[in-house]
Amino acid sequence: MTLSTFKNVFFSALFLTISFVGYAQEASGDDNDSKFDAKEMIMHHVKDAHEFHIFDWNGKPVTISLPVILWTDQGLVTFMSSEFHHDDSGTQIVEKDGLRFVKYHEKVYQLDAGTQELVFDAEHHPTNATLPFDVSITRNVFMMWVSVIALLLIFISTAKVYKKSNDKVPTGIAGFIEPLIIFVRDDIARPMIGDKKYKKYMPYLLTIFFFIWINNIFGLIPFLNSANVSGNIAFTVTLAAFTLIITSVSGNKNYWKHIFWMPGVPVPMKIFLMPIEIIGMFVKPISLTIRLFANITAGHIIILSLMSLIFIFETFAIAPVSVGFSLFILIIEIVVTAIQAYIFTILSALYIGMATEEEH
């Protein structure tokens, strides 16, 4: 087994990734295939992709093919991502409904009519293709659904425990889950929102807490972590937007007065504070977005970088160092999974609490 093959299997099986980089190089018959591009491998892992990579076998990637769904100017076009044959360089053309598609750097391009292949400009940007609106079931969407199924199984079976027992004593899975729910209720919702109003926001807070947490955890489990859901900015920005919407909708008169016409300060100060408060309204969810995205992605990048050292130095001698350090980081990451879910939830609760606070 050469180091290159080992590399493909290693990164696939042990940790995260897409090793088609190596595959593409081998397939193209590149003599210098031992040149390992850590940056590209890492970036490829932390970003989204159209197929769910499991591992490589004999230099060929084994993947779960996921549906590509495109909204083009001629309507909806769907096909399986396997039709690209793992190609990501824009050479494999898929023809559907008279339209031609190529995949380049995990983006599906629609070739302009009459063109046969993708043409790049000097900066490697495609010049003769457009990007249709891509609502494909990417690997992040796929993993998100896996996490949803896991959450439904866990919490519906927890609810069943209470339904079955007459005395409402938590047994089995409920004994494990109940303290977590009580924690969200007594240490997040109650102190941040207040005893009177917290009940209304409990379903939202519980759902984001466990949704983020389980996706963070799945991001650390080999094979499942082929996708990096909670480290994707689209995911975090969506959840932060939910918090912004809930905060704005439940904001009372007092909250809006503090934003637009701060009470208790002179008029020039009121005018000065208004834009700051308006910016603050949006900075809060933006900080939520970036915090979660950056923490999770950074963790993945560190571990992958440490592992890449083996292939950058091209020696097994560095392996103990890599493994030791990444083990250390992984343990920290396990803590981070819970902490980030907690921070996102407690800050959401805090913002909701600020919006619903009564005048004092």
Partner: protein, 164 residues
């Protein structure tokens, strides 16, 4: 730059997935779980409160018992004291009554004796008077049986009674 540009496709699916998850979990998980936990907590609170109440009631009951016992004791004391008082009073009353009665009887007796004595004295006087008259009669009769004697007497009497 791809890394920090949110993909709209993923945003779309995240919104749908999250809303789905939120609705399903709210209905089938959070509601029953939070309901059960809340019910149980209420139950525990109620049980604790009723235990506290029971404890207080016990205390009250105990205090009541103490109080009743005390009252009973006090009543007994009072009853005994009353009885003693009554006894003393009865004896005193009886004594004074008896004394009074005795005094009365003695007084009556004395009065009776006095009146008897007076009556006896009166009778005695009467008897003495009658006797004296009888005697005087007999003596006079005897004295005046002869003429000489009668003249003698008148003379002696006249001699005594000097006419001045």
């Amino acid at each position: 730059m791809d890394l920090i540009t949110p993909g709209l496709g993923l945003v779309f699916w995240t919104v749908i997935t999250f809303l789905f998850l939120l609705i399903i979990l709210k209905k089938y998980a959070w509601k029953p779980i939070l309901g059960a936990v809340g019910d149980r907590e209420d139950g525990i609170k109620k049980a604790l409160a009723s235990a506290e109440n029971a404890r207080k009631e016990m205390e009250n009951l105990h205090a009541d018992n103490e109080r009743i016992l005390k009252e009973a004791r006090a009543e007994r004391e009072a009853l005994l004291k009353e009885a003693r008082d009554i006894k003393v009073k009865l004896i005193d009353d009886a004594k004074s009554e008896a004394e009074n009665q005795a005094n009365k009887i003695i007084e009556q007796a004395q009065a009776a004796i006095e009146s008897e004595k007076k009556a006896a004295m009166a009778e005695l006087k009467n008897h003495v008077a009658e006797l004296s008259i009888d005697i005087a009669e007999k003596v006079v009769r005897a004295e005046l049986s002869s003429k000489d004697k009668q003249v003698q007497l008148v003379e002696s009497m006249l001699g005594e009674a000097k006419l001045n």
